[in-house]
Structures are given as C-alpha cells and as structure tokens.
C-alpha cells in the first residue's frame, strides 16, 4: 500500500511539473495578441479556407505590420473576455467593441467606427418602429452592447413593452431562431446585422435605432503605452487611405460569402475534430490510472488521506466541469499572479482531474464488490498485497465495472465540447465558427454526424472489450 501511495504522489508531482513547462510562450519576440469573437462577421470570423479574416482582423494585421509586432490572433469566448484581458492572455480586444457604457472599464483608443444598435425582424411581420415591438419576444447576445442599451435607464419603457427578452450566446443562433419564428426580433450591431442578413431575404432591419455608439480598441486598464502605439498607427492608416480601403473591402455592397458543400465543411471541421480527439485520448490516458489511485486513496485506512480524497471527489462531482476549467486556466493568475497554462493543457488537466473523480468512484464500487475470499485465498498462497491487487483483484474489477466505464467514456466524447469555455476550438466550437461564416445550420449537422460516429466507434470498441473479458463468469 505504501508503494502505491508513493507512486500516486510521484504522478501528481510530475503532473504539476508538466504544467510549469507548458505555459504560454510569451517569447522575447514582440507579439501583439488580439482577442476577438470569431463568430462575428464581417469584423472577425473564419473564411472558407480556415483563415481568420474580417474588417478588424485586417486593421490589426496592418497595424501590427507597421509596428513590427508579430500578430497573434486569439479567438475568445465573449463571456470570458475580461478574464482573458486581465490575466494577460490577450493584449487588446479589437472586435466591433463598443466603447459606450464601458468607458471606465478599459483603456480605449479614440473611436474608429460609428455604429448603432438596431432590431432585426422578419419582413413579413411589418415591424417598422419600436412601437410595433410591443408584446414581442426579443433576443440579444449576452454581455453585448445591445443588451446594455436595452437595460439602460433610457430604454426601460421600451424593454418593458416586450413580451420577454431572451439572452443567448451568439448572434448566429439568434438569427436562426428569428427565421424559424421562435423569437420576433433580435437586437444587435448594425454592421454585423447588415452583413449577416445580406443573403437572407426574409429578414430586415428596423429603421429606428436603439442607440448610437462607437467602436474602439480596448486595452487592459492602464496599458496606455500600447494604446498610444496603436492609436498612432491607426491615425496614420486613416491619413494614407489604407483604412478606407479596408473598410470598402468589408462594408462595400459586393461582399458575399461562397457557400460551402458538406464535404468542405467536414474538411474544415477536421482541425476541431483532432482537438476533440486529443482531449478525449489524453483524458482517458491519464484519468483512468489516476482514478485507480483516487479509489485506493478513498479506501485508505488513513483518515486524513481518506477525507482529503472524499473532499476532492465531492468538489469534482459537485461543481460544473466548465467552472473547473476556468479555475485551472485563470486560477494561477488570479490566485498567485502566475502565468496561465496553455489552453490545451488547461482543458486536458481539468478534464483529467474531473474524470479521475468519477472513474475513482467506479473503481471503488468495483473493488468493494470483490469477495473477501479472493483476498484470503491470495494471502494464503503468499501473494503480497500489491500482487494481490494487480494480479487477482484488479482484473476481476475491470470486468465488473466495464459497463459503467463505457457510460463515462461516451459522456466524455460529448463533454469535449465544453472546452470552448476557455476558447479551445474543438469540434463544436469549430462548427459554430463555420456556421457564423456560412449563415447556415449545416455545420451543426456535420458536427452531429461526427459525434454520432465517434460514439458509435467507442461503443463498438467497448463492447469488444466486454467480449474479450467474457472468457469467464
């Protein structure tokens, strides 16, 4: 038993060491990391060839080039943009970022684009003004300027007149809901709206603005040095006409998106697929053995070890995996002011410690179900406790718990999609990105096919394993 514990401690230590080495490489080279929402065309999104493109992306690219920075484009989850900025994962948010209402939260450049918040509605509903929205269902993106505007003092009456106001993660989904009739209006940025409904004949923009606002580039509060550099460059770009050129490219009337075929979508999803597979395999690789140690620690006669393990299991099972990922990724910075681990590593680490808790309980139930006689027979024949466990007990336990393990493994396949929370673009996030570019549901269908096939293969493999262990009763 002591040997087992020693091994356990060693594995935990090596895990910790690993995390030290895989921090984001903020090398000596001058890097400008721009954070943006990659589901926000035409400001920042992914084109048919898997490149980050858009109005803001082009501006950032040009500015970085002129300043001699290496540009790193970092897609982020909009909900966690403040944590990303505070913890230094990104240097600025450059992405149709509204200044109004956020003046004091960030260090801003001067406004570079005038925008307004508008309602998108179905043409057939003949909604012409805000009065027509009475008793309608309105949808906004969470934490967006449209949300802020509708919740402000100024628009309280307007918001009150709605039947309800729904908050949702992305514009893309909101517009799909609008098209199929489950909501009546979507409040969003004028430019984004104009771009997104260009090829949707059934939708239109209500002429009456909710509010006017301005876009700027947002830096971490106090980072005036970088702000000033960027400001100067943007001013220069405006002066020499580069700014206008880029603006024409994205807001001119002839900008359209080429439709992708299903095979093309599948091909684009490949990157995400690889990342999902990576999460899947590494999680299993580490959490299964770790789960075994968790089970042994949980069953330890030492009360301290037993209670620590109990506490760990209850935390892992009692809080959402998504939250655990936040803690692993942002925790080092907020708690110890240390650099955060790499995104991929943080995802896998969080998955491993979470799944190890579940696997640990499964192992424990299996071990507890073993007859006492097996231990006694082994002891009589002179097996050490280590040999007894690995030669006699564990092989039988594995057979007994295989069906429960299969359940967890299938859940894991689907859970990989939670990695988007810290902007690790796995399969499902990739599908959302393509959906934003393509303005269609097709990528989700493709994603569903992928998950189904993946799970089908997993189920077949696990069934095969169960058959392999069927040689005895």
């Amino acid at each position: 038993m002591k040997k087992v514990l020693k091994l356990f401690v060693m594995i935990m230590l090596s895990f910790t060491c690993l995390s030290m080495f895989s921090v984001d490489a903020h090398a000596k080279e001058k890097v400008l990391t721009v954070g943006f929402d990659q589901e926000c065309p035409p400001f920042g999104f992914v084109d048919n060839d898997k490149n980050f493109v858009g109005f803001d992306i082009d501006l950032a690219r040009e500015a970085a080039k002129r300043l001699g920075y290496k540009l790193k484009l970092q897609p982020i989850d909009w909900d966690s943009k403040d944590m990303e900025l505070d913890s230094g994962h990104i240097d600025c948010i450059w992405n149709a970022f509204t200044i109004n209402g956020r003046e004091d939260k960030y260090t801003w450049t001067k406004p570079y684009l005038n925008n307004s918040q508008v309602f998108v509605v179905r043409k057939s509903d003949k909604i012409k003004s805000h009065d027509d929205l009475k008793n309608k269902i309105v949808e906004v993106q969470k934490d967006s300027s449209a949300e802020a505007a509708l919740e402000s003092e100024e628009h309280r009456e307007l918001a009150k007149s709605f039947k309800s106001m729904i908050k949702i993660g992305s514009y893309q989904t909101a517009l799909l809901e609008l098209e199929q009739g489950s909501v009546d209006a979507v409040a969003m940025d004028y430019y984004v709206a104009r771009y997104m409904i260009k090829e949707k004949d059934t939708l239109t923009i209500v002429n009456e603005n909710i509010s006017k606002e301005q876009y700027g580039i947002g830096f971490k509060k106090g980072n005036t040095k970088l702000r000033d550099e960027i400001q100067k460059t943007v001013d220069a770009m405006k002066k020499d006409g580069t700014f206008n050129k880029i603006s024409d490219k994205w807001f001119g009337s002839d900008v359209t998106t080429k439709k992708m075929t299903l095979p093309q979508i599948m091909y684009q999803l490949l990157d995400g697929m690889m990342k999902s597979l990576k999460i899947f395999f590494f999680t299993l690789l580490f959490s299964l053995p770790l789960g075994l140690f968790v089970a042994l620690a949980r069953m330890s006669k030492n009360k301290v070890i037993q209670n620590i393990t109990k506490f760990y299991i209850s935390i892992m099972r009692g809080t959402p995996l998504m939250l655990q990922m936040f803690v692993v990724y942002f925790g080092p910075f907020y708690l110890f002011n240390m650099p955060s681990p790499a995104r991929g590593f943080a995802v896998i680490f969080a998955f491993v410690i979470n799944y190890a808790a579940y696997f640990g309980e499964i192992f424990r139930s299996g071990i507890a179900s073993m007859e006492k006689g097996q231990y006694e027979a082994a002891q009589l024949l002179g097996y050490s406790s280590f040999q007894t466990f690995f030669v006699i007990i564990l092989p039988q336990v594995i057979k007994r718990i295989l069906p429960s393990i299969t359940n967890e493994v299938i859940t894991l396949v689907k859970d990989t999609s939670l990695a988007f929370a810290i902007a690790y673009v796995e399969m499902f996030s990739q599908a959302k990105v393509i959906a934003a570019n393509q303005k269609s549901m097709m990528p989700f269908v493709a994603a569903a096919i992928f998950y189904y096939v993946f799970n089908f293969i997993v189920a077949v493999l696990m069934e095969h394993c169960e058959k392999l262990m069927d040689y005895y009763d």
Binding site: G373, A377, L380, G382, Y383, Y471, Y472, D473
Partner: protein, 252 residues
C-alpha cells in the same frame, strides 16, 4: 516433530468470547479432525492458525519456531517469522475461493511460479500430476465457472498442494456440496491421509472423521471438550460429546 503448536489461544469478537484458552498441537503425519456445533470456534481456530485472523492472546509455533508469543496478556506477532511460516501450510476453503479469471492450470501454477519462483516446467509437470490424481486431467483449460462444486474443490486442493505445504488445513471442505460430490472430496482427503500428509480438518462428516483421523477434537463454546482417538471419541462418556454425536454414537 511438532508441525503446529498452539498454546492458550484467546479470541473475542465484541462481547463474545469465541476461543477461551485453547491449546493443541499437531505432530508430523497427524490427521486431526475438529468437530463441534456451529459457533463453537472451530473455524476461528483454523483462521487464527492460518493468520487470516489475529489472536488476542496466546502462543503459536510452526516447526518449533515461535511466531506468536504472549507478552503481558497480549499476543505479539513476529512479522519476519510469520512470513516464513506462511510457506509451511495451506488452506482449503469451504467455498473454494478459486480465482475465476484464471483457468484451472493457472490457478494451480501461478503462486508456485510467481511467489515461490520455482522452475516453470517443473511446476507445470507437478500440476499435471496433481490434476491427474484429482481425476481432472481433462480440465486443465477450463475456467472455475465451468466446473461442478466437487471439481472446484478438487482444484482448490490441488492449488494448495502445489505449494508443497507441510500441513494442510480444511475448513468444512464439503459443506457446500451434495452427498455425491461430498464423497468425491472425502475420497481425495482419504488418499492424502494414506500418503501421510499432515492435516487438520474441520468437518461435520462424522463417519468420515472417524475413518480418516488419527486424533479427534470436540469443541464447544470456545473450549476443547475432549481430545482423543476416534474410537474413544465415539465411545465417550462425556454427556456433551454424546449429545452432539447423537446417532453417530453407535458407529463406534
């Protein structure tokens, strides 16, 4: 030579004194049967002799080496000697406790090869001989779940014998078997007795105990009531013994 020597063994579970000052020893070649009603402490005595249970107080020696000594009313186990003593006995359980994920052959050879580090080929050769002796030469590759209760018990005896013990304990080896299968097992034990194997058998098979034993012990309520030859046991004047043996009494 005394193979096993137990002195003043005391054991309690909660308020229940299971063994109250039990002493007995086993000479080489002895076949000792322990009989007595359920709850008399027979199995506990075997489990203490095989280190599956620890005694509260008392002394225990294997091959004249004292493994447990009594110090100030408490039993003190000598770990190193205990480890060595493990090699000189085997135990056959009531419910076999075969390893279900090993086939018959592996059940028998795994411990001699893995634990005793004996030569693989030699162990397999001996195992085949043992299986032949048990009438199971065609069951080498079978898994325990494919065997009858009697066959399982014969495999478990073979498994114990493969370790070459100096003494073999049987804990009610036929209690889980029907009369026909019981005879199979008793026949095997009889053969072992004929070969002068030293054995201690806890059993409820009275006539078998009479036939096979060199000595019999009658236990009741945690004490040894009588210890004598089989013939004298069945002719006992002791009231408690007579009451227990009941109709078997006439066997003598």
């Amino acid at each position: 030579m005394k193979i096993l020597d137990m002195k003043h063994i005391k054991k309690h579970f909660g308020d229940n004194d299971v063994l109250k000052d039990i002493s007995f020893s086993v000479e080489e070649g002895d076949v000792v049967s322990i009989i007595g009603p359920s709850g008399s402490g027979k199995s506990t005595l075997l489990r203490i002799a095989t280190f599956l249970e620890t005694m509260d107080d008392g002394e225990l020696s294997y091959l004249d080496k004292q493994v447990v000594e009594s110090v100030g009313g408490h039993a003190i186990y000598k770990k190193q000697l205990q480890k060595e003593a493990m090699h000189c006995f085997g135990l056959v359980f009531q419910n076999y406790n075969l390893f279900p994920h090993f086939n018959v052959m592996k059940n028998i050879v795994d411990a001699p090869i893995r634990i005793q580090k004996r030569d693989k080929e030699e162990v397999y050769k001996e195992a085949r001989a043992l299986l032949k002796k048990m009438g199971l030469e065609d069951k080498e590759k079978a898994y325990p779940s494919e065997l009858s209760g009697g066959q399982k018990q014969r495999v478990s005896i073979a498994r114990a014998l493969a370790m070459k013990p100096r003494i073999l304990f049987f804990d009610e080896p036929t209690s889980a078997l029907d009369p026909e299968l019981t005879q199979e097992i008793l026949k095997v034990i009889k053969e072992l007795a004929d070969e002068k194997m030293t054995m201690v058998i806890v059993t409820h098979e009275m006539s078998f105990a009479h036939d096979v034993s060199t000595r019999m012990i009658f236990m009741d309520q945690g004490v040894i009531v009588e210890e004598t030859t089989p013939d004298q046991m069945f002719a006992s004047e002791n009231e408690r013994t007579r009451a227990f043996l009941g109709k078997h009494h006439e066997l003598a």
